[in-house]
């Protein structure tokens, strides 16, 4: 019953801890390794115009759920203008308004994006109605119908139909019909609109999409036009020239529809320019920012990243203590190493972080050795326990100070970090070690001292693996898993490894 209860509790903890971790890894995209970075695009649209002096309004279409990207943030730079944002069908519009404006006006819109190969779903409105077959003028009409007839024969569905049509339309050796279709059309937008018109002849819903092809450090860039057709369930994008399906990686959907992006009232000679720059950033902060943007994830709201940096650094260290505790449980109950004090080695391991391992071992050993020598001298004075402990503590502090000064004079700056040793713990260790020394002999005392040091070293090596530190900080719920393991080990009734050695003669006795 009791055991079942424990197992259920452990399984529950495992599920909560593991589940939350999985969610953060798979859904929120938090990285498993400490050094992963991602590319961040900062895209800027610059609107310049000449204001008339009266009230002016600028409407600019801005990206809305661009497929293949995660929006990390956006900002608007527009000194005296009021700003409103509005949905317009599948698009968004930013509206800048000012009561009075004159002279050269410049407005900026900036958006930060991270590439996300998994998130290419186009979140646009449901299926559009089937278009009516247009009344084509002749000879366009018969050319279009004949081309559509041919294409239909070569294709299986809407996607392949569109692809065949685009290939034929852009063919280097166009037939007579295609030449008729292409005649008198200019610019990519014109061709896309023409194609939409032709596709309507097959009653296929299609639309133009204005996209920005991102290149690092590009300036004064302009929008391209892509073609999207609806197959009844989703919009399928095509490059209208190469007939390739889908958006390439660095193509940002700016606006769905062929209409102009910018409209200005109360001004003239409006001009729209795009610029973009690429930066590399930590995946963690990107995932964090994105989750905030979505505003859906409680988990991220309560993540450690929301703390001030100083507190974050404290927790980076504190969260490692449970890992050390797990190490202690393993080394004491499963391996069976004897140490001074239950958690003393963990505190020593924490101190090793600042001193580095070799120096840490050297400093620890020298402080304990000097402290022990002085403790044995104090024994002759027959002091009461608490004053004696206090005396040892004072000596430990003095020894630490002297070691710091000496190492500083020798130019060994590492020696200064000894100040981070937990001195009270050191004093207690010295006291206990001297007791064991007296009552159980030097062998026992040194054995336990070395045992403590080995446990501290092992704990240090595990706790300060960059990977371990990253995991517990980014996925603190993993500590629930650690808790579950510790709880289960709490009912471990098997042998300790050292007991194999202790009872070895009994085993050999049986075998003979």
């Amino acid at each position: 019953m009791n055991k079942l209860h424990l197992r259920l509790l452990a399984v529950l903890l495992l599920i909560i801890g593991g589940g939350a971790t999985w969610y953060k890894m798979a859904v929120l995209g938090l990285p498993v390794t400490p050094d992963s970075t991602t590319q961040i695009w900062t895209v800027e649209a610059r609107v310049a115009f000449q204001a008339d002096g009266g009230p002016s309004q600028v409407n600019l279409h801005i990206p809305h759920n661009p497929p293949g990207f995660n929006v990390l943030g956006e900002d608007f730079v527009s000194s005296q203008y009021g700003l409103a944002r509005d949905r317009d069908g599948d698009n968004r519009v930013a509206m800048w308004t000012a009561r009075r404006a004159s002279g050269n006006q410049t407005l900026y819109y900036r958006i930060q994006l991270s590439e996300d190969a998994n998130d290419t779903v186009d979140r646009t409105s449901p299926a559009p109605p089937y278009p009516e077959v247009p009344d084509y003028p002749e000879p366009f009409g018969s050319a279009a119908l004949s081309v559509l007839e041919d294409v239909r024969a070569e294709s299986a569905d809407i996607s392949s139909f569109t692809r065949r049509l685009l290939l034929r339309y852009n063919s280097s050796d166009p037939g007579e019909n295609v030449q008729v279709l292409r005649s008198g059309i200019d610019g990519s937008t014109g061709h896309v609109n023409n194609l939409i018109d032709i596709l309507a002849g097959a009653r296929i819903p299609a639309r133009a999409v204005q996209v920005l092809t991102l290149r690092d450090r590009m300036r004064r860039a302009e929008l391209d036009t892509f073609l999207e057709v609806h197959n009844g369930t989703e919009w399928i994008p095509f490059n209208p020239v190469t007939a390739e399906r889908g958006y390439p990686r660095s193509v940002l959907v700016w606006k769905r529809g062929a209409e102009r992006l910018l409209s200005i009232s109360g001004g003239s000679s409006g001009n729209l320019e795009f610029a973009a720059a690429r930066t590399v950033r930590d995946v963690v902060s990107v995932a964090e920012q994105r989750a905030m943007q979505r505003g859906t994830s409680m988990l991220m709201d309560f993540s450690l990243f929301s703390l001030p940096v100083q507190a974050q650094n404290t927790y980076r260290l504190l969260l490692l203590v449970p890992i050390g505790a797990l190490m202690m449980v393993l080394l004491r109950n499963v391996v069976g190493i004897a140490t001074f004090g239950t958690f003393m080695p963990i505190l020593i391991a924490l101190a090793f972080r600042e001193t580095q391992l070799a120096w840490g071992i050297f400093l620890f050993t020298s402080v304990v050795a000097i402290g022990l020598a002085i403790r044995f001298y104090l024994e002759n004075l027959k002091l009461l326990l608490v004053p004696r402990l206090a005396a040892v503590l004072i000596v430990v502090v003095l020894v630490m100070a002297v070691l710091s000064i000496i190492s500083h004079k020798l130019g060994l700056e590492r020696g200064l970090s000894i100040a981070l040793f937990p001195m009270v713990i050191l004093a207690m260790t010295i006291e206990r070690m001297s007791l064991v020394w007296e009552e159980h002999g030097a062998g026992q005392a040194i054995q336990q001292g070395v045992g403590s040091l080995i446990v501290a070293i092992l704990a240090y090596l595990v706790m300060f693996q960059p990977q371990v530190g990253h995991l517990v900080f980014v996925f603190p719920e993993l500590l629930l898993v650690v808790l579950a393991v510790v709880l289960l080990l709490g009912r471990y009734t098997g042998y300790r490894l050292t007991e194999l050695w202790r009872f070895r003669h009994l085993i050999m006795d049986r075998k003979n």
């Binding site: 009912r491 471990y492 007991e499």
Partner: protein, 324 residues
């Protein structure tokens, strides 16, 4: 490695984790621990129950009382000072003789009252107690140990540790001080552990520093085949101790006094596992045998009968061959 685990399992060796989880935690109520951890309480309860214990000469509770110790002792020549909450035989000072104002210790050293006072003061400040709690010091009768151990013992007081499970004595060993253990009857400090046949009280096999031995490491005398006097009385004494503290898994330490026979020295709520090495027998199997009993009689005599019934026959008195 796994093989080793399996052979230990097959041999039925009780490990530390299993002892703690399956026997101590299940059968020993925590609130009963003070009854055995505080030797003063143990002694009082034992006296009330008519169980033989070394006489208590006095208790020192505060520093100030140390000066009264000589008056407390009166004409008593030999005595033992020990912490009421000591563990593992730590903090025990044995005075065998007095010469004027000085005290002769068990190791032959002659010390003054100042030394004894400092020792008591250390006890009071909790140096030897579990968890460093302030403690009090007991001054009690020094046991004149039975001459039977003279040949196989180096100073100190040999004692007999019996593991009593649910009131049934299951396994016992004699702990003989050696030169190495400095007169202490603690196996970790180098005392010799000698297994006992539960039926007859004859010594069987021995372990010293986790090695199997046949002879006493200091005196060279053979260990096997010695008869513990008043064995029946001793077993019954151990069985009766169960009622003192109501601990299901209990270690009873008994000393044999030359004149007064077996006396209970102390009880232990967490008896160690070395008894298995001394006896070369599995403790686990015996504990499971007792666990399987449907009901355990109230009468200690009947429980001793169970001990004989279950464990006398599977514990042959002849020592095993020694494997080095």
């Amino acid at each position: 490695m796994l093989n080793l685990f399996r052979s230990l399992r097959d041999a039925g060796i009780l490990g530390m984790n299993e002892r703690n989880a399956r026997f101590i935690m299940l059968h020993n109520k925590r609130r009963n621990y003070p009854l055995v951890d505080d030797k003063l309480i143990t002694k009082r309860r034992a006296q009330e129950a008519g169980i033989h214990v070394p006489a208590l000469y006095g208790v020192v509770e505060i520093e100030h009382q140390i000066r009264d110790v000589p008056r407390m002792l009166g004409t008593i020549e030999d005595f033992v000072v020990k912490p009421a909450h000591g563990s593992g035989g730590n903090g025990i000072m044995v005075v065998t003789d007095r010469q004027g104002d000085n005290f002769r210790l068990a190791n032959g050293m002659l010390v003054g009252m100042e030394e004894v006072g400092h020792h008591i003061s250390n006890i009071l400040s909790g140096m030897h107690s579990l968890g460093g709690q302030p403690d009090c010091a007991m001054i009690e009768q020094r046991v004149q140990f039975d001459p039977m151990f003279e040949e196989v013992s180096y100073r100190g007081v040999p004692d007999i540790r019996t593991v009593v499970f649910k009131g049934v004595p299951v396994m016992a060993m004699v702990r003989l001080p050696t030169r190495m253990s400095n007169g202490k009857a603690n196996l970790h400090q180098g005392a010799l552990g000698v297994g006992l046949d539960m039926g007859t009280g004859l010594t069987t096999t021995a372990v010293w520093k986790e090695r199997f031995v046949d002879e006493h490491p200091d005196t060279g005398n053979p260990i096997a085949g010695l008869q513990i006097p008043e064995w029946d009385k001793l077993l019954e004494l151990a069985a009766r101790c169960y009622h003192l503290a109501d601990l299901g898994y209990l270690g009873v330490d008994v000393v044999l006094d030359r004149d007064q026979g077996p006396m209970v020295l102390e009880l232990n709520a967490r008896p160690g596992l070395s008894i298995q090495l001394a006896n070369r027998r599995s403790l686990l199997k015996r504990l499971e045998q007792v666990e399987a009993l449907k009901d355990i009689p109230e009468d200690p005599k009947q429980r001793v009968a169970i001990t004989r019934d279950l464990f006398a026959k599977n514990n042959p008195p002849t020592p095993q061959t020694v494997i080095v």
